[in-house]
């Protein structure tokens, strides 16, 4: 650890933007949740209409918050695990500005009605090209740093960040193949059932390699670091990594159970989804055993608390996923709020919490001062936990109700409940979910204040050496 001049200002910049996009994306999420309770609060403004705003919500949290956080932590940890300064820091700054500009314009384009209608890949073709170019830059910076490393083995976290970069590039390029008609409109190269199979190969593995793989990279660096313990089993992490990379790709077709796609691909997707439980939980066990040696610190350290709670939600979500992939369970859960609950137990409980924990770890180090308020971070912890639990419980209630009531038949074999009656019965759940979202958002606001106050309190003379300061 002799390198003194790690490139950390670009890390700070990405981190700031991640927090900003988290806030904006969560406000959009709370707003669309409220629209399901009070459908007229779009005030007749097209940009605030549910379909557009919900798409903006997922785009902002996934690509604004999620990817900015992943790039920030990848750049921070790859330098330290390689014992070398970042490769091409100028390119990293270009990537920073390009990515933030793409998110600003991309979110605006979605609110204006530009969308490919492919879930989690809604941005139209000019953005698809920009994302592909930015991703190549990310790859050059990341692998360039690894190529110059001073330590022989490539550390585990970098395998996962590497898989994120490589596999997401492959998924993004194939799924975005389209013929442009105008600047804001293109038509998919694939049609109908073929398009569906390609989309869910992408969609499931965006979850797999971005929301799982990328954030596992975060886990493998920041968990042992904050727990001050080595990874419990190096061999287990090798097995878990390759089994993860091999198996995840097969699971996509469980999004198409009982759809108009070949039966063999559905069943294959289901079996591989069940097998996926093994590598998922292998990583969870590895993480929990790693933290077992730091039980005392867990009681007092907010960053570690967030990371370990995230690990628990990771375990829950990766158990629930394979269960939902079983066709006879999926019959009930598919198309219902249960899916939304499942996504959020992963997105809030796992992705957001581990990012928050990592930020509580990073900001005092980047600023060179202790965290402004541990107490505020603890309040955030409980708000985030309560919000996530309430969200998931509300959506379980709603989803199971929908699943059972929609398929319920009376003695004559006719459907027992009208769609409208079931829809009207969702209102209490939607209200609870709105409260859950508000609690989670309130916690995130506290974090933003806490981190901003920490940065504001840094000793300027130390944190900004004149030679390294950018004009």
């Amino acid at each position: 650890m002799t390198v003194r001049h790690y490139e950390d200002r670009v890390v700070t910049a990405f981190l700031y933007c991640a927090v900003f996009w988290a806030l904006l994306g969560m406000v959009a999420g709370v707003w669309v949740a409220a629209e399901l309770v009070w459908p007229t609060i779009d005030f007749g403004i097209p940009a605030l209409s549910f379909g557009r705003l919900r798409t903006a919500h997922t785009t902002l949290v996934l690509f604004g918050f999620g990817v900015s956080a992943l790039i920030a932590t990848a750049i921070y940890s790859v330098q330290r695990t390689s014992h070398v300064r970042l490769f091409a820091p100028g390119l990293a700054w270009a990537l920073f500005w390009a990515w933030q500009l793409a998110i600003v314009l991309g979110a605006a384009s979605i609110l204006a009605g530009w969308t490919s209608a492919k879930e989690y890949a809604e941005l139209e073709w000019p953005f698809d090209i920009a994302i592909a170019v930015a991703w190549v830059a990310f790859a050059v910076i990341f692998f360039g740093t690894i190529a110059r490393r001073k330590v022989e083995p490539i550390y585990i976290s970098n395998w996962f960040y590497g898989a994120l970069i490589i596999v997401v590039a492959m998924l993004h390029i194939v799924n975005s193949l389209a013929l442009p008609a105008t600047l804001g409109k293109s038509y998919s190269l694939f049609a109908g059932a073929q398009d569906a199979v390609v989309q869910w190969w992408y969609g499931h593995n965006a979850v797999g390699f971005l929301l799982t793989g990328g954030f596992l990279g975060m886990l493998y660096y920041f968990l042992p670091k904050q727990a001050e313990q080595p990874i419990w089993s190096y061999r287990l992490s090798i097995v878990a990594f390759w089994a993860f990379v091999y198996t995840y790709i097969w699971a996509g077709p469980h999004h198409l159970h009982y759809h108009a796609v070949p039966e063999w691909v559905q069943s294959l997707g289901m079996v591989m989804s069940l097998i996926l439980l093994a590598p998922s939980w292998a990583t969870m066990v590895n993480g929990i055993m790693t933290v077992a040696g730091a039980a005392k610190k867990l009681r007092t350290d907010p960053a570690l608390k967030f990371i370990v709670l995230a690990l628990a939600f990771y375990g829950l979500a990766t158990f629930e996923g394979p269960m939902l992939a079983i066709k006879s369970v999926n019959v009930f859960s598919h198309f219902t709020e249960w899916t939304i609950g499942h996504v959020h137990s992963g997105a809030l409980g796992w992705n957001a919490l581990i990012t928050f924990g990592t930020f509580y770890f990073l900001v005092p180090r980047l600023a060179g001062v202790p965290l402004y308020s541990t107490r505020l971070a603890n309040v955030h912890f409980w708000l985030a936990l309560a919000g996530t639990m309430l969200y998931v419980l509300a959506m379980w209630g709603a989803g199971v109700s929908q699943g059972v009531l929609w398929l319920s038949l009376d003695d004559l074999g006719e459907v027992r409940f009208s769609f409208n009656d079931v829809m009207a019965a969702m209102q209490p759940y939607y209200l609870l979910r709105l409260l859950a979202g508000l609690a989670f958002l309130a916690g995130t606001v506290l974090m933003a204040v806490n981190l901003a106050k920490t940065f504001a309190g840094r000793p300027t003379a130390v944190a900004m050496p004149p030679a390294g300061r950018r004009a």
Binding site: F50, G113, I146, I154, M170, A193, Q194, L268, L409, V415
Partner: protein, 209 residues
């Protein structure tokens, strides 16, 4: 061969690591996607299926613009309750001209795969402009702006049809030339209704399971 010593080599060589990830992660996709994607998606359209008319295509692209598919599916599963509620289950041939597919993943509102012909144009007009005027419990947004804009207000219908023709849709030069005329005097609302009324029509009279 000892896998630990194999990995000893991989984890010390960035090129090998990249190659390994690429190789291992692409197997599943190749097995699942290639047999399905390499076939011609237009080879087996459902009997009676035709590509959307200019007005229906405009309506479909507006359905996409408003992200209607976020809340409405277009996929009826082969389950008794779904068939009773929505009609015959969906067949892959019905979606041969769908670019992109619009099956959706969430039913906040009901499935629309066979909504065509179920309600009158006038019902759709009232429903899209003020959903709660016809369905009091509805939580659907109102779309007043659809009535205020003329269809194809950016004049791109011909470019869009030509692009689809390049992808294999059997639009003739005459159809493309006539498209602006077919949209003349129509609103976005008319286009969306024409699209909704076209949904599921190719399976009219198909045998029930």
């Amino acid at each position: 061969m000892n896998w630990v010593s194999l990995h000893h080599r991989i984890e010390r060589n960035a090129g090998l690591l990249i190659f390994g990830i690429l190789l291992v992660s692409s197997i599943g996709g190749m097995v699942q996607l290639l047999p399905i994607v390499t076939g011609d998606s237009h080879a087996h359209p459902a009997p009676g299926l035709r590509p959307p008319t200019a007005l229906e295509l405009e309506g479909r692209d507006l359905y996409i613009r408003e992200s209607c598919g976020v809340c409405h599916t277009q996929q009826i599963r082969p389950l008794l309750a779904e068939v009773k509620r929505y009609g015959p289950y969906s067949r892959s041939g019905e979606f041969a001209w769908d670019r992109p597919f619009l099956w959706g993943s969430k039913r906040t509102g009901p499935d629309l795969a066979r909504i065509g012909g179920r309600y009158t144009d006038e019902w759709h007009r009232l429903h899209l402009l003020d959903p709660r005027s016809v369905v009091p419990a509805s939580i659907m947004p109102a779309y007043p702006w659809l009535a205020e804009h003329r269809a194809d207000r950016h004049g791109t219908i011909q470019a869009r049809m030509r692009t689809l023709a390049r992808l294999g849709h059997p639009y003739t030069d005459e159809q493309i030339a006539a498209a602006p005329g077919a949209l003349d005097g129509r609103t976005e609302l008319d286009a969306v209704i024409a699209y909704l009324q076209s949904l599921g029509g190719s399976m009219k009279g198909a045998p029930q399971p």
